[in-house]
C-alpha cells in the first residue's frame, strides 16, 4: 500500500509540473498585449511598455515560468492582472461555493443514484423501466434548460429560494442551504441518472454471476447476498463514475454558477480565461490538477478497501 502511494505521489508531482509548464507556455504564446488591455486604447506605447515591464512580461517565457514556479512553491501565486485580486485569496473566496456544489451534488448523487440503481437492479420490472426512462430523460434534457425552468418556478415565481447569490456557511447555515439547494438539484439530475444506470447494470451483472448463483442455491438469505456480495462488487464501477463526475462537476458547474450568479470557480475560470489573466488561470489550473489527482487517489483507495483484489492490479 505504501509503495503504491509513493508511486502515485511521484507520478502526480511530475504530472503537475508538466501541466503547469504546458499551460503557462500555451497561455503565453498568443500575441496578446496585456498592458494595452489594462491601460485602455488611449494609453501611450511608452506607458504600455512600462506596464508590461512592471508585470515582467518583457522577459522570455521560460524565465517567467520559473519565476512563477519558484514563487508558487513558496505559496505565492501572485495577483490577478485584471482585478488586482490576490490569486490565493480569490480562489479561497470562490472555492467554498464550488465545493459546496460539488459535495452537495456528490452526496445527492451517491445516495439517490445508488438507491435508484439498486432498486431497479433488484426489482426489475416496472420499477426498472421507470428508472431507465428517468435516466434517459436526465441525460437528454439540456442542463441549462432544466436549470432555467427550476429558477423561474422555484425562485422567481414561488419565491421559495433565492434566485441569485451565495451565502457562506460561516455566516448562516440556513442561508447557505437555501442558496445551494436549487443549484445542487439542477446539477444532480444528470449525475443521478448516470450513477443509477451504472449501479443498475452492475447489480444485474453481479447477480447473474456464477458465485452469486452458487450462494443463492446454498440457501443464503437474499438480503445477505445482496448486501455482503452483490452491492460490494457492484460498488467499484459506481465509485469510478462518481469520481469522474465529481471531477467533471468542476466544468459542469459553470452554467449553473452563471445562471444562479454564484461566485464560484467555474464562472471565474470562464471570465479570466477569456481575458488571458495568466496568474489567475495558473492558480485555477493547479487547483484543478491537484483536485483531480487527489480524487483519483481517493477513489482508488476506496475501491481497494472495498475490493481487496483490486489492490493487486
Amino acid at each position: 500500500m505504501l509503495g503504491f502511494l509513493i508511486r502515485r505521489l511521484t507520478g502526480s508531482i511530475a504530472l503537475l509540473l508538466v501541466t503547469a509548464l504546458l499551460t503557462f507556455v500555451l497561455l503565453s504564446i498568443p500575441n496578446q498585449d496585456v498592458g494595452r488591455q489594462l491601460l485602455g486604447m488611449q494609453a501611450t506605447q511608452q506607458a504600455i511598455d512600462a506596464k508590461n515591464a512592471e508585470l515582467g512580461l518583457d522577459r522570455p517565457i521560460l524565465v517567467q515560468f520559473f519565476d512563477w514556479l519558484v514563487r508558487a512553491v513558496q505559496g505565492d501565486l501572485g495577483r490577478s492582472w485584471f482585478s488586482s485580486e490576490n490569486v490565493t485569496t480569490a480562489i479561497g473566496n470562490r472555492l467554498p461555493v464550488t465545493l459546496s456544489l460539488m459535495i452537495g451534488v456528490t452526496l445527492v448523487t451517491a445516495v439517490c443514484g445508488y438507491l435508484l440503481g439498486v432498486w431497479a437492479g433488484t426489482r426489475r420490472g416496472r420499477v426498472d423501466t421507470f428508472v431507465q426512462v428517468f435516466s434517459v430523460a436526465g441525460y437528454a434534457l439540456p442542463g441549462f434548460l432544466v436549470t432555467i425552468v427550476i429558477v423561474i418556478v422555484f425562485a422567481v415565481k414561488l419565491g421559495w429560494f433565492p434566485a441569485v447569490g451565495y451565502t457562506p456557511i460561516t455566516i448562516s447555515f440556513t442561508g447557505w442551504l437555501s442558496t445551494i439547494t436549487l443549484p445542487v438539484i439542477s446539477l444532480s439530475l444528470a449525475a443521478v441518472a448516470g450513477v443509477a444506470q451504472q449501479v443498475r447494470s452492475s447489480v444485474i451483472e453481479v447477480s447473474r454471476s456464477d458465485y452469486i448463483r452458487t450462494l443463492t442455491t446454498r440457501g443464503l438469505p437474499r438480503r445477505r447476498i445482496l448486501f455482503r456480495h452483490v452491492l460490494r462488487n457492484a460498488s467499484a464501477p459506481a465509485l469510478t463514475v462518481l469520481g469522474l463526475q465529481f471531477v467533471g462537476l468542476l466544468g459542469g458547474a459553470v452554467i449553473v454558477e452563471q445562471i444562479f450568479g454564484l461566485p464560484g470557480i467555474g464562472s471565474m475560470t470562464i471570465k479570466y480565461t477569456s481575458q488571458g489573466d495568466i496568474p489567475i488561470i495558473m492558480g485555477l489550473v493547479m487547483l484543478t490538477a491537484i483536485g483531480v489527482v487527489i480524487i483519483n487517489l481517493l477513489v482508488d483507495l476506496a475501491i481497494g478497501a472495498l475490493l481487496p483484489k483490486a489492490r493487486v492490479s
Binding site: M41, Q46, S83, A90, A163, V164, P263
Partner: protein, 510 residues
C-alpha cells in the same frame, strides 16, 4: 411509459407558463418602502481601487470612496464637490480652482491643495488610463485651498475629466507605499470599503462614512456585485435581491419588463457601427474615396438591423455624436437612408463598379451571428465582399491598434456628452484615428472650438459633425437603448454621457 414522461414534461411546462402568466398582476398604489441597503449589479470589474487605474465604466466603485474635484450632475452640468469654485483665464489655458476646506481623508489627514496637486500629477505621470487626459498639465498649489492648472493649450475636456476618473482624490499618504490603494481605498467620499465583507472580484461592500463632509446619502450600505451574465441580474431584480442595474441585451430587457413592479428608464449612451480607420486606403485602397465610404453607409438597412439585432430597441443614426452633446443634430440620424441603388452608383462613380473586398475583425462578443450575416448580405448587394476575420479578445487590441491589420471594426462606443472628447477620441489623429486622417475643415473648426468657452461652441461642433457625416468617416448603425432598471422604493437618475448612473444618482423613493 414514454407517454407518461411526455405528460410529466408537458405538465411542468404548463406549470411554468401558468405561473409566469399569473405574475405581475395588480399594481400596488401605496409607495414601496425599501431598506437602507443599495444592492447594485454590474458586469464590470474594476482593475483595482486605486484611482490611477480607474476608467469611466467602473466609476461607481470609485465614487463611493473617492470624491471628485468637480461633480457632474445627471444632466451633465458641473457643480462644486471638492472644488467649490473654478474659472478659466481669457485664453482658456489656466484653470483656477478653490478647494473645500475642512474635508479629511479616512485616516484624518486633511484634504488640501497639496493633496490635489499630488493626485493630479500622479494621474499625469503614472501611466494610467488618465495619463493622456492630463498630459502637459502643470499643477501649482497657490495656498492651502487654491490650485491652478496650467495647460500647454486649451483643453475643453478638462472639466469633464475632473468630474470623471481624473478628478478622484486619494490620500497622498498612500502613494509612496506600493499598491496601498489597490485593495484599501482611502478617500474623502461618502462611503468606506468594508474589507471584511468584501470579496474583491465578486462583491464589494461599502458602509456609510460617519464624518462625511457632505449630505449623508440615503443608503447606509452599498453593495456592488459582479455578474457575468444579465440573466442572473434579471432574476435578482425580479426577486428583489438586486435593487438596480443597467440591462444592455434586448432579450434580458424584455424578460425584465414582464415584471410590472420594476421601473425602467432608457439610457442612450452606446452606439454601434463600423469605425473606418483606413480613410487613406493603406489597407483597403477603395476606402480612400469618400464615395466608397458613403456607399457603405447607403448600403446598410439600419431599420431592419435594429429590429433583428436589438428588437427595435434604439434609434438608427448616421452620426457618432450623441444626444447629450452640443454637436448632435437630429437631421443627421437619417442622413444615409437605405438605398442600395444609390450605393452602387456611388461605387461606380468612385471607379469600383464591381465592388471590392473588405476584411473586418470579428469580436464575437460584439459582432453576433445576426450582425455578421446582415452586414455581409447588405454589402454583397452592392458588390462589396465582406470577410470576417476571427480575432480573440486577448490579442484583438494589438492586431487592430498596433499592427494596424484592419481597415475598420464594428464596435460599441460610448457617446460622450462632452463634444471635445468626441472630437479628441474619435476624430483627431490618435486613439481611434490611428491611421491619422486629417481634414482641413475639421482642423479649423477644432482649433476654433478649443479656444472658446464651452457655451460658445455649439455651432462649431455641429459643423464638424456635419462634415464628418458627409465625409463618411464612420458607418454608424444605431444608438442602443439600454435600460436602467430599479426595484420599488429605489430611485435612480440616468447619467448623461455614461452607461451607468453615478453613485450619487441613487436615492430612496420619497
Amino acid at each position: 411509459m414514454n407517454k407518461r414522461v411526455l405528460g410529466a414534461v408537458g405538465a411542468a411546462v404548463a406549470a411554468v407558463l401558468l405561473l409566469s402568466g399569473c405574475a405581475g398582476g395588480g399594481a400596488d398604489a401605496s409607495p414601496a418602502t425599501h431598506d437602507k441597503t443599495l444592492r447594485l449589479a454590474t458586469m464590470t470589474v474594476p482593475q483595482s481601487l486605486d484611482p490611477k487605474d480607474a476608467t469611466g465604466s467602473a466609476l461607481p466603485f470609485f465614487q463611493a470612496v473617492y470624491d471628485t474635484l468637480v461633480l457632474r450632475t445627471p444632466a451633465g452640468d458641473y457643480k462644486p464637490m471638492l472644488a467649490t469654485e473654478w474659472s478659466y483665464n481669457d485664453d482658456q489655458t489656466v484653470l483656477s480652482m478653490t478647494l473645500r476646506t475642512g474635508v479629511t481623508f479616512d485616516d484624518g489627514t486633511p484634504f488640501d491643495a497639496k493633496a490635489a496637486k499630488a493626485n493630479l500629477e500622479r494621474f499625469r505621470d503614472s501611466g494610467g488610463p488618465d495619463a493622456a487626459n492630463l498630459a502637459g498639465v502643470t499643477v501649482d498649489a497657490v495656498d492651502d485651498s487654491h490650485i491652478t492648472l496650467t495647460l500647454e493649450q486649451p483643453n475643453p475636456g478638462l472639466l469633464f475629466f475632473l468630474s470623471d476618473s481624473a478628478g478622484l482624490m486619494a490620500n497622498p499618504a498612500d502613494f509612496d507605499e506600493k499598491d496601498a490603494l489597490v485593495t484599501t481605498p482611502d478617500g474623502t467620499g461618502p462611503y468606506v470599503l468594508d474589507k471584511d465583507k468584501t470579496a474583491i472580484g465578486t462583491t464589494w461592500v461599502y458602509d456609510q462614512r460617519k464624518d462625511y463632509w457632505g449630505t449623508a446619502p440615503d443608503f447606509s450600505t452599498v453593495t456592488m456585485q459582479v455578474f457575468d451574465n444579465e440573466n442572473a441580474i434579471v432574476n435578482g431584480l425580479k426577486t428583489g435581491q438586486i435593487d438596480a442595474a443597467v440591462l444592455q441585451s434586448a432579450d434580458q430587457q424584455l424578460a425584465a419588463e414582464q415584471d410590472k413592479d420594476l421601473t425602467f428608464q432608457d439610457v442612450l449612451f452606446d452606439f454601434q457601427g463600423i469605425l473606418l480607420f483606413d480613410r487613406g486606403g493603406a489597407v483597403t485602397p477603395a476606402l480612400a474615396k469618400p464615395e466608397v465610404r458613403q456607399a457603405l453607409n447607403e448600403a446598410i438597412d439600419r431599420e431592419t438591423l435594429l429590429k433583428v439585432v436589438r428588437d427595435g430597441r434604439g434609434q438608427v443614426t448616421s452620426q457618432v455624436w450623441g444626444v447629450d452633446s452640443q454637436g448632435y443634430e437630429t437631421s443627421l440620424d437619417d442622413y444615409y437612408p437605405y438605398d442600395p441603388a444609390k450605393a452602387k452608383q456611388l461605387l461606380a462613380d468612385a471607379g469600383y463598379p464591381n465592388g471590392f473586398e473588405l476584411t473586418l475583425p470579428r469580436l464575437t462578443s460584439i459582432v453576433t451571428d445576426n450582425i455578421a450575416s446582415a452586414l455581409q448580405t447588405d454589402f454583397a448587394k452592392i458588390g462589396v465582399k465582406l470577410t470576417w476575420a476571427d480575432v480573440d479578445a486577448a490579442s484583438a487590441l494589438k492586431q487592430i491598434f498596433v499592427e494596424k491589420k484592419f481597415s475598420g471594426m464594428v464596435m460599441n462606443m460610448g457617446q460622450s456628452s462632452n463634444d471635445w472628447i468626441v472630437y479628441s477620441t474619435l476624430i483627431a489623429p490618435g486613439t481611434f484615428n490611428f491611421f491619422g486622417t486629417m481634414d482641413d475643415q475639421v482642423n479649423k473648426l477644432a482649433a476654433q472650438a478649443r479656444a472658446l468657452p464651452a457655451d460658445q461652441t455649439a455651432e462649431l461642433y455641429k459643423k464638424m459633425n456635419e462634415r464628418i457625416v458627409e465625409q463618411a468617416w464612420f458607418v454608424p448603425f444605431y444608438r442602443m437603448t439600454y435600460e436602467l432598471v430599479t426595484v420599488p422604493g429605489v430611485t435612480a437618475a440616468p447619467q448623461a454621457g455614461m452607461a451607468v448612473p453615478s453613485i450619487y444618482n441613487y436615492s430612496l423613493s420619497k
